[in-house]
């Protein structure tokens, strides 16, 4: 009877293992695409094999003793109490094994700490729950958000292959170039981790940690935040796109152009209401919906609702100032530092017109449409650039 139950459990486990529904699972650490990741992998495998050998030796003696010296087979207990020689032996041998492991670990660690002679420097800032990438040599900067839709997370739509490991704008780096990473955080502690690059570095507010990558193969490499950073810790993935050096130069040019346009024109443009609303909805879903939810009702115990909110249904300047400043010490960031005037105007227009807020604003005769120009004015007034 117990046998049959055992077989049933085993079979159900095997059927799970062979289940074809999901993507391929993986048993081991990735070998990776950078010299450091290779070195770490080799160290990991060396340690793993040594542990296996130790386990086999210890378990063999254990199992042998358990089978050989059973009372039911008439084993009589010997009465020895200790032996100095074996104690010395099993103190020294493990010690030597450990020295053998410590040496390569030290060498690899020294290599990791060598951040000199990099050709490119990128500053990475963790935010609740997105990453900011700044190319310090070129003035390019942008945010990278999770691009998996809420419908997929809520099981209302089939999941993509890279469910929860996809972003709207990946970090783009050239191959065969030593890229220095300066990693920090704007709020709580995050950790920037891409297994295939062999880099995990905590992003700590007030500190700038250094690390570096040298990618040898073009491709997309995926990772996730490695330190609990609040409610959406599981929803701030990292994608690094390694491209050839010429592709990278081209990419830099388009990005520089985009930055220029964004800085000069966006603030002055007057947008029609429909455009503001559609842009506002997209940006709302990206920046706000993770806490305030797509229906604006917030999360009961953590995040306030925007529907019928006192802050949203207020004179335009107040709403803008609130969003610009954020609420210090909460995930409500100072969005003035994150979003440009146009995006901000679109989002505020969207939230003031959705979920019945338009009715309240109208009865109080507050305007429901906000233009980039107004955001710019308030920005200058409160002094947030």
């Amino acid at each position: 009877m117990p046998n049959r139950i055992g077989r049933l459990i085993l079979l159900s486990c095997l059927s799970l293992l062979t289940s074809p529904v999901y993507a391929d699972y993986q048993l081991n650490m990735p070998y990776g695409v950078s010299p450091i990741s290779h070195e770490i992998y080799d160290l990991h495998m060396a340690a793993f094999y040594i542990c296996c050998v130790i386990a086999v030796v210890v378990f063999s003696v254990l199992i042998y003793s358990l089978i050989r010296f059973r009372k039911s087979k008439g084993a009589q207990a010997a009465q020895f109490k200790g032996n100095l020689l074996v104690e010395v032996i099993w103190t020294i041998i493990p010690f030597l094994i450990l020295v053998g492991l410590a040496y390569p670990a030290t060498v690899v660690l020294a290599h990791i700490h060598d951040t000199e002679k990099s050709a490119l420097t990128i500053k990475i800032t963790g935010y609740q729950w997105k990453w900011k990438y700044e190319y310090l040599d070129n003035g390019i900067r942008y945010f990278s958000y999770l691009s998996t839709t809420l419908d997929q997370i809520e099981n209302r739509a089939p999941k993509n292959k890279w469910f929860l490991l996809e972003v709207d704008k990946p970090l783009v780096v050239p191959v065969n170039t030593k890229v220095k990473l300066l990693i920090t955080s704007d709020d709580v502690i995050h950790s920037w981790w891409v297994p295939e690059l062999g880099v995990k570095q905590d992003a700590i507010p007030g500190f700038i940690n250094e690390n570096w990558v040298y990618i040898t193969q073009p491709g997309e490499y995926r990772g996730q935040c490695g330190e609990l950073c609040g409610i959406n810790h599981g929803f701030m993935p990292i994608v690094v796109k390694a491209v050839s050096e010429t592709d990278f130069a081209a990419w830099l040019q388009t990005e520089e152009k985009r930055m220029l346009i964004q800085n000069q024109q966006a603030a002055l443009k007057v947008l029609p209401e429909t455009e503001l609303l559609s842009m506002g909805k997209d940006e709302y879903l990206k920046n706000c919906a993770m806490c305030h939810l797509p229906n604006g009702e917030g999360m009961k115990t953590s995040f306030p609702a925007l529907k019928y909110s006192r802050v949203v249904n207020a004179p335009v300047d107040e709403t803008i100032a609130y969003v610009l400043h954020g609420v210090p010490g909460t995930p409500m960031q100072a969005f003035g530092k994150i979003l440009d005037d146009q995006t901000m105007a679109a989002i505020i227009t969207y939230i003031r017109q959705s979920w019945g807020n338009d009715r309240i604003n109208k009865t109080r005769s507050y305007p429901t449409t906000v233009q980039p120009k107004e955001v710019k004015e308030v920005r200058q007034l409160v002094g947030i650039q």
Binding site: Y25, F69, L109, L164
Partner: protein
């Protein structure tokens, strides 16, 4: 006649009647029982939270609970299991067994003993009450890293802080009591090198607790100050240092893991010789190994912080010291193995759990060596590899030793033998459950799944499902344990159990009747 004397005696100095007995008691056996029952209740509370976590992780996508609640579950599960299950259970066993093992009539400070226990239920009521409050419960993990717990912590964080304070007071007082008892109340002739290893392990554990619990208290007080009194200990914007928090926390947190496992080493050192019918191999080395582990345990807290940007020299020294701990730990494993060698072995339930511990703790220890290598640790840190590692040393390590100890001394405590058959079912289901739950976590971690995430990418699905199935098997198995313990405690003694339950058992506790009278060793035994 003997009976009459005992009856008369208990009438004069016996327990208070009814429920008040348990509030007023200063008897080490009663307080030990309270600790153990409290621990059992919390095991099921913490276990239920773990099952909620595992259920959510059964499939990718939002399954039954939202990410907000998930983080609260993770936090509660950690705190409850560490402070509410393992520590009280170890203290409970210490309360019961140390006076019996050293021939003392009771603990040195009986009233303090009562208070140390009664702080616990209130502390945990306060903590658990936060789940039912209108704001979120603590949601930053049991490590409550700043600034997530300071600037960003929910209002209920203050309840969490005071819970930790109360737990700290409780632990310090009980550690003080145990250390004072061992130093002052040994029976004549019970010299240091005759002490059972359980007692020795508590000497070291007691000092670890006395040294690090105040650090934790200081740390949470600083969190409280940062939250309400405008200090900036951990706030970089005010000139503080978020890393300082981690130093303080792990200066407590690392010795804490030895606090959780060392008394277990003591239990195993009692169980294995009994069922191998052979003297413990290398007693002196076992004692030295515990002391050295205790000392090294103070020095390696930074191995929890390798990715924080720690300087090269600090990383190296911590790595070497951490690897060094493998040596005394190895000595313990080898000595237990040598105790089995040429023994006369039987496989009663306590022995099964001790052997399960020996195998699986070794696995956890080896993955610990892998984790000590800084470059490799960069890849393991904060992944499911770590979760697998510490559950191997805490569940199949600490928890298994506690279960082994309970089976071992249950006949002594209650005068009733448990059902050997049910005990075996409990053991085998637990072993299958533990390995199904925690072994796949190593693969998940290596493949890149971070810990503490409520939802995961598709390639992690299979192993998470196995893990969830395993966790439910393990959970169900503990119901058998509950039944066995309750049956032993509450059924009437039909026939007197012999004083020496196990053929190969040695030690003062086995010279007493089962169950022992309310007061024991009122005149100290003479040890030859």
């Amino acid at each position: 006649m003997d009976d009459a004397i005992t009856q008369h005696h208990e009438g004069a100095h016996g327990p208070a009647k009814g429920i008040m007995r348990w509030f007023y008691t200063t008897n080490h056996k009663d307080i030990g029982t309270l600790y153990l029952f409290f621990s059992m209740i919390m095991l099921f509370v913490g276990g239920a939270l773990a099952l909620v976590i595992r259920l959510e992780l059964f499939e990718p996508g939002n399954f039954i609970i939202n990410p907000e609640f998930f983080n609260q579950m993770v936090t509660m599960h950690g705190i409850i299991m560490v402070f509410g299950v393992i520590m009280p259970a170890m203290t409970g066993i210490a309360n019961w067994m140390i006076p019996l093992m050293i021939g003392a009539p009771d603990m040195a400070l009986p009233r303090l003993n009562n208070w140390s226990f009664w702080l616990l239920p209130f502390a945990f009521l306060m903590l658990i009450s936060t789940i039912f409050m209108s704001g979120p419960a603590p949601d930053f993990g049991w490590t409550f890293y700043a600034p997530l717990s300071t600037l960003y912590g929910p209002a209920s964080t203050d309840f969490f802080i005071f819970t930790i304070h109360m737990l700290g007071v409780s632990s310090i007082l009980s550690a003080l009591n145990i250390v004072v008892t061992i130093f002052n109340m040994r029976a004549p002739g019970m010299t240091w090198m005759k002490l059972p290893l359980l007692v020795w392990s508590w000497v070291v554990t007691g000092f670890l607790l006395l040294a690090v619990m105040p650090i934790l208290a200081g740390c949470v007080t600083m969190v409280l100050m940062d939250r309400h009194f405008h200090t900036a200990f951990f706030n970089a914007a005010g000139g503080g240092d978020p890393i300082l928090f981690q130093h303080l926390f792990w200066f407590f947190g690392h010795p804490e893991v030895y606090i959780l496992i060392l008394p277990g080493f003591g239990i195993i050192s009692a169980v294995i010789p009994t069922f191998a019918r052979k003297h413990l191999f290398g007693y002196e080395f076992m004692v030295f190994a515990i002391i050295i582990i205790g000392i090294l345990g103070y020095l390696v807290w930074m191995h929890h912080m390798f990715t924080t940007g720690a300087p090269f020299a600090a990383q190296l020294s911590t790595m070497y010291l951490t690897m060094l701990i493998a040596v005394p730990t190895g000595i313990k494993i080898f000595n237990w193995t040598a105790t089995l060698y040429k023994g006369s072995i039987t496989f009663e339930t306590p022995m099964l759990f001790a052997l399960g511990f020996l195998f699986m703790f070794t696995i956890g220890g080896l993955s610990g060596v892998m984790l000590s290598l800084v470059p490799a640790d960069y890849q393991y840190r904060d992944t499911y590899f770590v979760v697998g590692h510490f559950h191997y040393v805490l569940v199949s390590g600490s928890l298994f030793t506690i279960i082994a100890g309970i089976y071992y001394w249950l006949p002594k405590w209650t005068g009733n033998k448990y059902s050997e058959k049910l005990g075996q079912y409990h053991f085998w289901l637990s072993v299958i459950g533990v390995n199904l739950t925690f072994f796949p976590m190593h693969f998940l971690g290596l493949a890149g799944m971070p810990r503490r995430i409520p939802d995961y990418a598709l390639q992690f699905t299979e192993f998470n499902q196995i893990s969830t199935i395993g966790s439910f098997i393990f959970g169900v198995a503990q119901l058998i344990f509950l039944y066995i313990v309750l049956k032993a405690c509450f059924s009437k003694n039909t026939q007197p159990t012999e004083a020496k339950t196990w053929e190969g058992a040695e030690g003062l506790e086995w010279t007493l009747p089962s169950p022992p009278p309310y007061h024991t060793f009122e005149t100290a035994p003479i040890i030859k």
